[in-house]
Each structure stands twice: as C-alpha cells, then as structure tokens.
Symmetry: C2
Subunit: 351 residues, 2 copies
C-alpha cells in the first residue's frame, strides 16, 4: 500500500528542523575550519595563532523589526549590536562588518542614511569598520543581512560546548528588559494618543532599542580562559541555556530567585500583571553574556564585575545531562525549563 504524503514544508518542520536538514549539506569541511555551523559564529584558522571568527545575521522588516514604532536608526543600531554580541559570545574582538541591504525603491534616501547612522554608532564605539556590502531593490520591505568578522587567539575562543558539571552559571547585566521594552512599544503603537512614557518605561524602551553588547567582558573571559562555555542571550535565557547545555552535553539548575531583574522591569511586570521571571526567561535580544566558570573563581568574578562596571550574577549550576534542565523556584520547587525559543516558521510575525 502506498501512502501519498504531502511534501513537508518549513511550517511543518520548523526553523530548527530546517537547520538540521541543511547542516547535512555542510559536512564538507576544510581542515582550517575549527568550528563550523552550530555556535554563535564559525572559528577559522587563517594564521597559526589567531582564529578568524565570523557570523551572519538576518534582520527583516515584519519579522525582526517593525518600523511603525522604531526608527531606521534604531534598526541599524540593534542589528549591529546583535552581530557584535555574537563576537562577544566567542571572546573575539569585532573588527569588520559587511551589509547586504535590499530596500523598496520608494524608500527615502534620508531613511537609509539614518540606518547607516545606526550602524555607525556601535561601530565607532567598538572600533569596527564597515568594509563592504551589496545593495538591491526589494519588492516588500527592508531586508538586512549583516556579516561580522573578528579575531581571537586560536585556543582562546569561547564556545557553547565547554560547560563542565559543577560550573557556576553567570550572566551579565539584567534580563527581560528588552522584551518588556518591546511590549511597551507595541502597546503604545496601538494607542491613539499615548501618554508620555513613565521613567521606568523609557528605561525599558531604551534597553530594547539601544542594547549593550559585552565584547570587552567576552574578550577578558577568553583571554583569562576562565569561562568553560559561553553564549549570548539573543533568543532568551530559556532557549539559550538549552543551546549551551546541548552543545556541552550537560544539564543545569537555574535559580529563579537569583535571576537579575532590573527595578524597572519588576515595576513593569507588577503594573501589567506579568511575571518578571517569565520575562527574564523568555525575553530575547538582551544581548547579555551567559557563561559558566569553575566555582573556585567566585572571587574573581566579583572582581571582574567591578573592573568592567558590569553586573555579574551567578544564576545556577551545571549538572549532569541526566539531571535535565530545571528552574528552582523561590519556594524550592523545581520545574523543567521549557523550550520557548522563537521559531520563525511556526509563529506569526512579529516575534
């Protein structure tokens, strides 16, 4: 008996299914590819001592950003930061940027100059040069593809795969602010004459539109070789801790009471009946660093936090794979960390 089956589409297999399907086609690897697909960036040996770190990120109107409530400059800024954050996650010094840009022909030149102003702001701060790109017209909306290149000493590159059982799990900054800021922007976009945002709202909006990547911290963690496993928070803590644990072959216990939540995010969550823990877990685009270190480095981490004037919080501990991935609530009850990473093919835009 023959079953006629419908051909599978991206809707049925989802984004991660697609990535798995396509990875099979990427197995022809040169010997100078130290790490191919599967981390925040590829690691390439172009010289005996220095590795080249390279990563590509898409930013598409209606999927990754919404010009009804953010400016071209905001979009440029956030796209550059997303790429710089990938370099931070590898411990690399970001150096060069290339931009593929497709735009509807009716777009104002001023808007595109604003977009480039957005790119330029973090590029200047982190000494990154825009060295190339390509432009084309688009039949629907703005389409960006950014490639970033950086360097790090070959054996120093941070990877998702190095976490060890017993490691403490650290995160920089605070979590959930960006998602809260996005929700505020989305809500205000539907209101006719929204009131001026309250100070806590302005803070969260800024955290969404002007996130802070952590390249200096990443570089220090790589140079010192303190960090065993590292990733940046782009999908959200719950998704990104899963990527790290899967790559390292380990489990984790995260402690809800320790998740770093800003005063402003807590105020927002209370005002709108949200859970700030959920915001911290599910909020993507925080662009904070998540990494694991041996517990003997506890004092060092405190010192590192002071040196870089960046909050560093221990939010859990790496466990054996058999333990699974759990979140221990403030009341001491553990629950599995569910996978909530954003899937571009199975959810509706935006985000």
């Amino acid at each position: 008996m023959i079953h006629a089956s419908r051909p599978s589409t991206l809707q049925t297999i989802g984004e991660f299914g697609l990535i798995r399907a396509l990875e099979q086609h990427c197995h022809h690897l040169r010997s100078d590819v130290l790490q191919g697909i599967g981390d925040d960036a590829a690691i390439l040996r172009t010289t005996p001592n220095e590795a080249l770190i390279v990563s590509t990120d898409l930013a598409i109107e209606g999927i990754h950003f919404d010009l009804s409530f953010e400016s071209f400059q905001d979009v440029g800024y956030r796209t550059a930061v997303a790429n710089i954050s990938d370099m931070a996650a590898m411990g690399a010094t970001p150096k060069f940027l290339l931009v593929g840009l497709a735009v509807p022909p009716s777009t104002a030149v001023k808007s595109l100059k604003d977009l480039y102003r957005g790119f330029k702001e973090p590029c200047r701060r982190y000494n990154i040069s825009m060295v190339g790109g390509d432009t084309s017209s688009s039949q629907s909306g703005l389409f960006l593809c950014m490639t970033i290149l950086g360097q790090v000493k070959t054996n120093h590159a941070l990877k998702r795969s190095g976490a060890k059982v017993g490691d403490h799990v650290y995160v920089t900054g605070t979590l959930g602010d960006s998602k809260a800021g996005l929700q505020i922007l989305q809500r205000r976009a539907t209101q006719k004459n929204p009131n001026a945002p309250q100070p806590y709202e302005s803070f969260l909006i800024k955290r969404h539109l002007r996130p802070t990547p952590r390249p200096a911290m990443g570089q220090q963690l790589a140079k010192s070789r303190w960090a065993h496993g590292a990733i940046d928070i782009s999908d959200g803590l719950s998704g990104d801790i899963q990527h790290l644990c899967k790559a390292s072959g380990v489990g984790v216990e995260l402690w809800a009471s320790q998740l770093p939540i800003s005063r402003q995010c807590a105020t927002y969550a209370k005002a709108y009946g949200h859970s700030s823990i959920e915001l911290a877990l599910e909020g993507g685009e925080d662009y904070e660093l998540l990494f694991t270190v041996s517990p003997r480095h506890q004092q060092t981490m405190a010192k590192l936090s002071r040196t870089f004037k960046t909050p560093l919080t221990c939010i859990g501990e790496i466990r054996p794979r058999s333990f699974g991935l759990k979140l221990k609530s403030e009341g001491g009850i553990s629950r599995s960390i569910a996978k909530h990473s954003y899937d571009h093919f199975s959810k509706k835009p935006i985000r």
Copy 2:
C-alpha cells in the same frame, strides 16, 4: 525664496547614487583595512603576509532570479559562482562561505535541499566550506545573502585600480552567452509548449545556469603579478570596463572585432536579429575575468591560456583618461562606451 522639494528616494538617485551616499558613512577605517568598499571585495590585513578577502552578494527572487524558469539548484549554483568569481577577480583562493536565507514558510523542504545542493556543487569543486549562516521566514519570496572569504598574499591581491596606460586588456572565455541563455529561458517561459531547445540554445542556457568562475586563473595572475588591474564580468563588459577605468584613472579603447563571441551566441544573435557585439557588451553574469597586462606579456598570455585550457583574448588597450572609453567598430569607427550597468532602483525587475 524657499523651494519646497520632495525628499529624494532611491528611484531618483539610483543604485550608484545610493552607494555614494552610504560610502560617506564608511570612512571610519581601521588601519588593517587595506581596501574597503569600492572593489569586488574588501582586503583586510589579518596576518603580516596573508590578506583576507571578503565579499557579500545578494540574490533576491524577482530581482536576481526567477523560479518560473530556473530550479532552486540552479539558483544555488549561480549564487555560489557569483561569489567565487569575486574571489577570482581579487586573485584570492576562496575558502569559506556563509549564507543568510529568508524563505516563505510554505516552501517545500525539498526545494531548500536542492538550493543547498546547488551551493555544494561549486563548493566541492573549489574546496570551499560552508561554515555558517542564518535562516528566517520571508513574507515574499526567497532572499539570499552570501558572504565569501578567501586569502591571498598581501601585496598580490588584484585590484580594479592598477591598470596602466599602454596595457593590453584581456578577457577569459566568451562574452554574452549568459545573457543570450537568459533571453532564451525567458522566451521559452512565455510559450505554451516550447519545442525542445536546439543544441546552440542548450549550450547558451547552460552557460547562464552553470557559469564557470575563474579562480585558478585569478590566483595565477595575482601570484605572477602580471595583471595590473582586474575585475570580473558580472554587470556586463561595458559596465565593468567602466568600473576598472574609473578606479584606475584611465581610458580604454576596446576593439569590437576582437570580442570573444561563441559560435552558439553568434548563431542565436543571427536567428533573432540581435547584435552579438551588444550581447557581449551588455550581457552580465558571464563571470569571466577582465584584466590588464603590459604588452610585453603577450607570449606569456598565450602560454597561460594553454596551461589553464581557458581562452584568453586581447580585446583592447588602456589609454589616458582624456581619451575616454571607446569601442572601435570593425569598420574602424569609434563610439563611446555607454553606461548600461543594471540599476536595481531605476529599472523594472527582472534584470
């Protein structure tokens, strides 16, 4: 008196106007950027001796390709070749590829696997590894952004800017085949039951769908330091010779009688009342190499052609800038080479 003017859009300033406007934002250059925007690829000094060559290219459905008459595998193949050809134009060895890929959620997984099969074919032939990428959904059509990385000895990289007065202008292979093949495909797509293509048509279709890049020739030209200026034919000879002359600050005389035109292209031109000279001048996507060498290397070029089993034709001579850019017809009459490069913002898709 104040004139209220409409804000300029991409339609009014065109693609090259946009590039000029955006280049102003790319002037913050690190000292290790040896060549930024303005050539086929950027030249970056990542080690004392070897330069990293990197380039990004867009390929967008409805602009760069049409799935009504080419397969996903064809699109993958051609996109990879366009990138490899950029490396050839710099004399670099192509090594690593990254792909940003946005697709409508209803796309069949099989189609995307075919796309990757298309990427893989030239990658295997030239020993290039796919090392990274990003995927997303698209609200309209397939969107590809490919980044390629290669290496070349620092002072050996070929540039558009090195052509010298008196140089001979050479081109590999034959010109115009790809455009003729595209026209045949477009014509057949509008016919209800087209006849089987004639052999000359099949040849030209294949030249469009499966172009041959020239990385080995480019590498040899770089290593030997014979070539003074180089570019690949992606926009079309008339447009690309202008890019080369502008970057080198020179003029040129091209000889219509010497343009290398395949027998099949000549047959096609005759059958449809086209000018094969015009096809050779205006046809983009040939991915042949155009370069200039001192006339004393005439014998060397003949030998090079035999060694690489690749036709090499001298099609003109570099002149002072004041001479301009001219095409000398078979009857001895000269005319200016008009600019016919494709502008994505001022013409209608497709191409």
